[in-house]
Every structure is written in structure tokens, then in C-alpha cells.
Symmetry: C2
Subunit: 419 residues, 2 copies
């Protein structure tokens, strides 16, 4: 009966930073409605607003109550959702705002980083079928106790993907301040190309290694629920955004990507710190002695390499995020008697460079090209880690741009259309 | 079983204007809890916040959707309630915030100026009996449709009084930026005295004629529900605020006031405009011809006087608020054919001075003293209106201070303790 394509449009903080931009967003939504779509919109807080509210909480208490924190910071999205609804009404559309608790969008009770459990989206479907554009406050939900929860920074992306899944939307468009996913950071490599399509798996690797376009959880969710996600800019006046003339990057299932690139992109993350635990007795259980206490203290460990000297001692080298560094050291010092290490050496002037591509599965030699390219520039590789579709190396931070540029060229990504 | 006195404390926008003031408010609440009371707190938005949000709505649309407006502006109180809960927790108290929809505090669906219908305060009672200090976001409720409503500017006073009634609180303390109700504006008359007690009826007359301390509706509600309301300053470090050493003004039932003052206070309102409809045929129905269309256009008319010239024509003089003046003129011009007036003359350089006192009922001569006092200063009275406990006159605005000072002295209010 109803054959209108259904689209979820999500606008991030910079896209709704002030009233003029909110009016521009309303125009974009109207265009999509005029093109014959049923549209549900998800909004973030006006940029700066969440930081202001978080700042209040931090000033009042070092360890603030996360339930109050959630109730406070969720107001940012509440304001934007109401303002956009008004702006849409001014353009002659029927529209209303929805808070997480009104839908309801139910989450667990992990305040501050809650996970969505169910969305009772029938009210939104009714609303759209009655010709309304529902504007949903992103980033928030309601717990079983009836309190407001938030989904963690960047959580509006996850709201949008979850709503798109719940509404069986044909696409979830994430409007942001970049016009898509690039083969690498265009600020470093001007020759970087926008990717028309990228798989969820590749996007996950790119998101988690430093391409901060989409919240990682939103990509995981999109992959699980097979939601087609398009990343595009709110600041580019594109053509009528119908399928076939998409101005952004589409994140899709592997089956939708015909030509599987060996290497899709080069990512880098400066948020790395290296910890070397030196001269540990080389005995079974030493890794557990180091990493179990760190895990218990919620310190995330990423790359790990162990090198034995042959003298009954071994060195354990691993990376963590810069923000976790101090805590990690504190834990290791507390555990010194148990681990029995000689010394700890840290280095936060490091960067992680990753080469990502779903085609790696069927192509050998990707890692070899990486090591050779870096070696030719005399860049020393300190730690290596690999996954099925990624090779990462840790190098000195000063070589970041050199390495990214060299690798981008080496994998043929500079070209107009890589094969 | 539970014999703790129960107090509702309400803090206005200037009292929670920044984090330091929120910390000060938390101290005041703690003091009241330490004195052995069960305390529920009601908060306004941080001062300036509501104006900022209203400004957004006004910029986006001339006639914005009141449902969206309510959802947007209610966030101000939501933020403050969470911040105060955190500040109370930092002082070692158990506390949590409550939004209108969480209690729920149910209102009608007159968005933007909703009226409270019921408060399911049992959750708050449970909370207090479990040792929590509930911090309730003022100014807001929820409609039957499940949408956020607001109670109109100053509505947090009404929230507080309604909660005090629902909780059977022994007192509702309204903390504001003045330390009580005065016999007149101390900026004009330095000899003005703080009133220790004032009746609801007197407070209503004072509130509605320009003493902007309490929202009029909150006083009506307090009178109806017999809630004892105390007005006091959040900026004065008073003694432990237990009965008997109250640093503010108590608004109470007439029976609680032993010495009924003939005149309790002198109020003035600069928000007046005078409209003279001249040379109207002096026939039955002329008043209806003028005032029915005005009422239909929601123009509030206050004082009315009709003077006949004896030549078959009459003049109709009345006042309205300055903001309604343009609309009133527009209506009258539309109705010219029907009213058949000669001309309309307006004057917005007028002020309404009111003498208020519950003792007037049993004392003659109050109005006479007023007219004589003004006459001795050569101040011309343009319009007069009276109620059971009030005499108001309209005079030229330039005489405001002179008239208020003269009347304050004439009624013996300057003295240390008037009888």
C-alpha cells in the first residue's frame, strides 16, 4: 500500500550549530520529503552545547552521578529537536519533536554509555503516515527505572542507525562536516579520494583507528542490522539526494561492493601511548599477570608484542590510549611485586598507521608492501598488529605525514580510480 | 509515625544563576535537612537561560508551535534540577532530580500557560522517607497527550505551591533576590518596611499591581489550598530557618494575621496605557460594543471610567497593558462603524498607584486620604478603580515617585511599626 521509500536523516552538532544552520537543515529535509520520501530526522545538540553541560557537571563533582549527568546533557538534543520541528513547520511541513522517553527508545541502565534495547517505533510510523516529519532527539533513551539515559559521545549516530533498523528505512543518511569517507585524511594527502562505497567491516576498522566520522557502535549496529548508511556533508548543496546520484559515501554490506579493493584506506591514530615492561621473567602466566589487572581497571590495551632476549627475561611492549596511560602505569607499579619486571619505559610520541581493505582476505603481500614502503623512508616499525582486513604499525609520531603519504601512493590510492 | 516537618524550598533563576550559587543553594538545603526537616526542592532555570531559549523560538517563527516551545524551554529547569542534585550529593546528602513527566505532574494541554491538574506526589514522599532530597524541575508538567507543558513565566512559584499542597508541607519557602514583601518599593522609599505577615488577598493585589515577587497564580493557589508561603532572600545568610525566627515575609490566611493593617502596602505599575474613546453616542450597549471585541481579541482591560457630556455623547476611558495597546487600537479601528466614536486618544505616560490593605473592609476613609494626599501635591487623578481591599488611581507617570512617597508617609507606613 505505502510504497514511499523511508529515509532516516541524522544531523550532527556542527550541522545544527546555530539557527541559520537549523534553517538550512530544514530545507534539506523538505527537499527529501518533496522527492517523495517518508523522512524521520535525528539531531544532535548544537555544537558546543554538550561540552558546556558536561563542563557544569565536571565543575560540581569529580565523580558526578551519571543519572543526573544523563538528565542534564540530554537537554542539548531536546532543544535542537524542538527548534528543527519549528523550522520545518515554518516551511509548511507538519512536524513534531520526540524525546527518547516519549517514543520510548528503551536502553539498559548503563547511564552515560547506555545501549539501546528496544524502540517502540510504531508511534513514529503512525506519525509519518499521517504526513508528519518526526524529529527525534538523538543520543538519549529511557531506562527501565524511567530515567533518562545517554548513549555516550557520538551516540546520535547510533540512535539514527537503530531507528533506521527499527523503521526498516531504506537508508540512514548521516550529515556531518565532511562529505564522505576518504581513502585517507585529505589534510595530509590532498590526493585522497572520496569512497563511493565502503563495507561495514572496513568502516569499523577505519572508525576505530582514527577516522572520526561515525561512532564505532553505530557501524557495528548497522552491520548487524544491515542498515545502509550514507555519510554526507550538510554544507554541500548536492543534487536532489535520490539513489543513483549520491554525493556522499555509502557504507554497505560486503555483497553490495562489486570491486573489492585490496586496500580501501589508510588511517592513523595519534591517541596512542607505548608502554614497555622490561626484563620480566620469561615464564608462563606473565602476560596474564600484566593484562588481567589492566583489564580490571578498564584500561584498554591495543597492540601487544613480546620479545624474548634468551637470557630468561622477556620484554612486553603494548599500546594504550593516551588518556589511559597514567592509570596503566599506576596499576603496573601496584603489581610490580607480582609481575617482577625490571623497569617500565613509556613513549607517547607514537602514532598508529593502519592499512585497511576487505580485499586483503584474498590478496597476499599487503603487509609486505607496507613494511617495504616504510623501510624505504627509513621509518622504524616498533609494533605490528594485524586483523583479517587490516595491518597496523606503530611508528614515531614525527613520521605520520610521511608514512601516510607514502602508503597512500604505494597502494595506488592516489589515482583517479584505483582497481 | 513520621513527625518531621516537611518543607518545600523553591529557588528562582537568580538564586541558581551559576555554579557557585547552586553550591550556596545546596548549603541552604542541607541546613534545613540538618534542622530535622523533610525537604523537597523546586528550581527555576539558571537566569538568562529561559530568555535564551525563548529567543531561539522567536527567531525561528513569529507564531511558533507552543508544544515545541514548551519542550524547548523546559530544558532550563531540567539542567538546574540535575546540577543541584549533584551539588547536594557532594555535600553528602542523597538526592535525585525529577522532571514533571517523571512524577508525573499532570496539567491541562494549554501549552505555554498550562494549569496543574494533579500531582502524583507519592513517589516524592517515598523518596523523602528514604532519606532523599527530591529536586523538582519547576515550571513544567506533562499533558494527557504525553507532551511537556510549561506553566507560564514565573510558573516555578506555582509548581512549588502546588507541590507544597500535594505534599501537605508545613511551609513553602520561595527564595528570591529580595528578602520579603515590602510596604512599597524600597528603591523609591528607603523607609519601606519588610512585612512579617501578609494575607493572600493583599499579596494578590500587590502581585497583580506590580510587586513582581510571586507569580499571581501561585498566590491564588496558595490561598485556595491554604499553603503558608514564605518569601525570603537566597543572598542573605539568615539564622537556621526554623519557625519563629523567619527572616522573610510570610503569606498566610487572614485568620493568622492578628493586627489587620488598614493599609499594608503601596504598589505601582508602569505597564499601563490609557485609551480614551471620545464622543460616542450615549446609548445602551455602547460599553458592550467596545469591550466585547477587545475581550475576544484577548486584550485585557483594567480600569474603566465613563463620563457623559450631557450632549448625547459620552467618553469611555480605560486602561490596558502597554503590550496590548497596539492590538487594542487595531480592534477599535475595525469596530469604528459599530461603535461610532469621534476619535481615539491614547496615553502611555501613565502609572497606576494602588493602596492595598485587608483592614480597609472595616475602615472608612482610606480612599479619601489617598485623594487628599495626591491633591496636596497637585497630582491629577485621571481614573479611579476600587476593590474590597484596594484603591487604585491612574496618574501621569512623572509623578510616580512623588505619589508613592507621599502615600507611604500618609498611611503611616514609614514608621518602625505601623498599627
Amino acid at each position: 500500500m505505502n510504497t514511499k521509500p523511508r529515509i532516516v536523516m541524522k544531523f550532527g552538532g556542527t550541522s545544527v550549530a546555530d539557527l541559520d544552520r537549523i534553517r538550512t537543515v530544514a530545507q534539506k529535509v523538505k527537499k527529501q520529503v518533496m522527492a517523495g520520501c517518508e523522512v524521520a530526522v535525528v539531531v544532535s545538540a548544537m555544537s558546543g552545547e554538550t561540552n558546556r553541560l558536561v563542563g557544569y557537571c565536571n565543575s560540581l563533582a569529580k565523580l558526578y552521578d551519571p543519572q543526573e549527568y544523563d538528565s542534564i546533557v540530554a537537554t542539548g538534543e531536546q532543544v535542537t529537536s524542538g527548534l528543527l520541528a519549528i523550522a520545518l513547520q515554518e516551511l509548511g511541513l507538519k512536524s513534531r519533536s520526540w524525546q527518547g522517553w516519549q517514543i520510548p527508545l528503551k536502553t539498559d541502565h548503563a547511564y552515560g554509555k547506555a545501549r539501546i534495547e528496544t524502540i517502540e517505533s510504531s508511534v513514529l510510523v503512525d506519525s509519518m503516515q499521517n504526513g508528519y516529519v518526526p524529529v527525534i532527539a538523538g543520543f538519549q533513551g529511557i531506562s527501565e527505572e524511567g530515567r533518562i539515559t545517554t548513549l555516550g559521545r557520538g551516540g546520535s549516530d547510533t540512535s539514527a542507525v537503530a531507528l533506521a533498523a527499527s523503521l526498516s528505512a531504506s537508508r540512514c543518511d548521516i550529515y556531518t562536516d565532511v562529505d564522505g569517507i576518504y581513502t585517507t585524511d585529505p589534510r595530509i594527502v590532498p590526493e585522497a579520494r572520496r569512497l563511493e562505497k565502503i563495507t561495514y567491516e572496513e568502516m569499523l576498522e577505519l572508525a576505530s583507528v582514527g577516522a572520526k566520522v561515525l561512532q564505532t557502535r553505530s557501524v557495528e549496529l548497522a552491520m548487524k542490522e544491515k542498515v545502509r548508511v550514507q555519510v554526507l556533508s550538510s554544507f554541500v548543496e548536492g543534487p536532489a539526494p535520490m539513489e543513483g546520484e549520491l554525493p556522499g559515501s555509502l557504507v554497505v554490506d560486503e555483497e553490495e561492493v562489486m570491486e573489492k579493493e585490496k586496500v580501501t584506506g589508510i588511517a592513523y591514530s595519534r591517541d596512542e601511548a607505548k608502554i614497555s615492561v622490561r626484563n620480566v621473567p620469561d615464564r608462563p602466566g606473565v602476560a596474564a599477570a600484566i593484562f588481567v589487572p589492566l583489564a580490571q581497571a578498564n584500561v584498554n590495551v591495543d597492540m601487544i608484542v613480546q620479545s624474548s632476549g634468551g637470557d630468561g627475561l622477556t620484554n612486553m611492549v603494548f599500546t594504550t590510549s593516551k588518556t589511559d596511560l597514567a592509570r596503566a602505569i599506576q596499576i603496573l607499579e601496584l603489581e610490580r611485586g607480582n609481575i617482577q619486571y625490571g623497569e617500565i619505559v613509556t613513549d607517547d610520541s607514537v602514532v598508529k598507521i593502519s592499512v585497511v581493505g576487505i580485499g586483503m582476505r584474498s590478496h597476499a603481500g599487503i603487509a609486505g608492501t607496507m613494511f617495504q614502503t616504510l623501510s624505504e623512508r627509513s621509518i622504524n616499525v616498533q609494533v605490528i598488529s594485524t586483523s583479517e582486513i587490516k595491518v597496523s604499525v606503530l611508528i614515531a609520531a614525527e613520521y605520520t605525514e610521511l608514512a601516510v603519504r607514502a602508503l597512500h601512493k604505494a597502494y595506488g590510492l592516489d589515482m583517479a580510480q584505483a582497481g
